[in-house]
Amino acid sequence: MTHRPSRVTGRAEDDPIVCRCEEVTLSEVVRAIRDGYDTLEELKRHLRVGMGPCQGRTCLPLLAHILSRETGRHLAEVMGEISVRPPLIPIPLDHWRGR
């Protein structure tokens, strides 16, 4: 893994991190929703939220709540839009090659 320096410098109380893998904060998510990225699939692609090694396990439910709150759409409807992409956990290339 790369060890790039963290972009996050603010205090968590002011702007909590929603996606730890990609270091995306609450205010960034809200701004993106207001800019029109108002489905989970679009948010993912725009902010890279849920695209890190955890595969969105922690952040996607959080995101769904924020999205539901911001857009007034039902949580179940928001969650229903998400697609799952394999593999469900990261697995090394060596394994796939087969030895």
Partner: protein, 380 residues
């Protein structure tokens, strides 16, 4: 939603987005982009982001060269960092036959002014130090080939287009086209009808469906292509690598992830975009044969998208015989991202000034009436 528009563009992939921007930039602002899902939901958001000029037909080479010129300054032009990395493309050859094809391709490319060249295996290793050079008999390299992030490109195009008055309607599929007297008089969507000036079919792998709504048959076939991305590692390769031996391609994103895929010659036409284990195995095997050092890298995600493939693997651009206001902008056959900037200019010239460039004339739908001679390097 607007009920009429001078230009109705169907599809908000890179083709539709680039054209909307190019039109708006020239002052044609009554443009409506209709998108079934959301921008980049088609092939564009699933693609490898490769920008290659090393082709085997003069049209593909020229379109790509002109597009690279635009891509080089697109971040500044759009005010969005498109993550453009101009580290060249390394094309691997494993047999003498492939080597011969490369010699001919480079000769043509050089004639057209492209600085591509033939490399020995050892020279290829200098470009990519982690390459196992014993797997190849040679390679070609063009330092001005590149890759970029398709999401950023489309976001940039659409943002700048919308500032100038272009309207984008997402989650608005076109369901029918009403034809009267040789023109499309009404575009039907699930959210109401639009009266168009001209209609642009930029629906990628679904362009055949759109054309059929207007009674036109396209020779395009949707072919699934799978792709995968790994966890990030320290940045070690600026170059994008492809092999004409097996159709593999891979590059490293600015985040450090290795993104790549491999074509499957057995793939049958269809709209299925599911992911397969067979793909991952084949991809891992070929990737690690060329670059064994990547074995410990974990695959984070795999997905698939559709190539929109024509009989000669070149796009279908411009007017539709028999339908005066339907413009085709599809059939990219797996290399639509890289030529989008120039294609948008050519189509905007046609829409704005009725100018049919040599490229448009040669790449129009009517070419499929005679014998067809096509692109040989259909990779990434």
């Amino acid at each position: 939603m607007r009920r009429s528009a001078d230009v109705v563009i169907i599809g908000a992939g890179v083709t539709g987005a680039a054209l909307a921007y190019e039109l708006a930039r020239r002052g044609i602002r009554d443009v409506l982009v209709l998108e079934r899902a959301f921008p980049c939901s088609g092939a564009t958001g699933r693609c490898g982001g490769g920008i290659r000029q090393q082709f085997t037909t003069p049209h593909n080479i020229r379109l790509a060269m002109e597009s690279v010129k635009r891509y080089e300054t697109l971040s500044e032009e759009l005010g969005v960092d498109i993550e453009f990395i101009q580290g060249g493309y390394l094309i691997l050859a494993e047999t003498e036959r492939e080597r011969e094809a490369q010699r001919q391709a480079v000769a043509l490319q050089n004639e057209l002014g492209l600085p591509s060249r033939l490399l020995t295996p050892r020279e290829a290793k200098e470009v990519l130090p982690l390459l196992d050079e014993t797997t190849i008999v040679g390679a070609t390299y063009c330092p001005t080939d590149a890759h970029a992030n398709p999401f950023r490109v489309v976001e940039g195009y659409l943002a700048r287009a919308r500032e100038r008055g272009v309207a984008l309607e997402k989650f608005t599929p076109v369901v029918n086209l009403e034809v009267k007297g040789g023109r499309i008089v009404r575009v039907r969507t699930c959210r109401g009808d639009v009266v168009p000036g001209v209609v642009v079919n930029a629906a990628g792998a679904w362009s055949g469906e759109i054309a059929r709504m207007a009674g036109v048959e396209l020779p395009n076939r949707p072919i699934r292509h799978e792709i995968a991305i790994t966890e990030p590692v320290e940045f070690f390769m600026e170059v994008m690598v492809i092999s004409i031996h097996n159709g593999i391609y891979f590059s490293q994103t600015v985040e450090g992830q290795i993104i790549g895929g491999i074509g499957d010659p057995e793939e049958k036409p269809g709209y299925d975009v599911s992911s397969s284990l067979g793909f991952l195995r084949r991809y891992a095997r070929e990737l690690l044969r060329y670059v064994p050092a990547l074995g410990q890298l974990a695959v984070l995600r795999q997905w698939a998208g559709l190539y929109d493939v024509t009989p000669d693997a070149q796009p279908i651009l411009g007017p539709t015989p028999g339908l005066e206001n339907l413009i085709q902008a599809n059939g990219y056959s797996g290399h639509g991202f890289m030529i989008a900037p120039k294609v948008a200019e050519l189509l905007a010239d046609y829409i704005e000034k009725d100018v049919v460039s040599e490229e448009l004339a040669c790449l129009s739908l009517s070419r499929f009436m005679g014998e067809v001679k096509g692109e040989a390097f259909v990779v990434g």
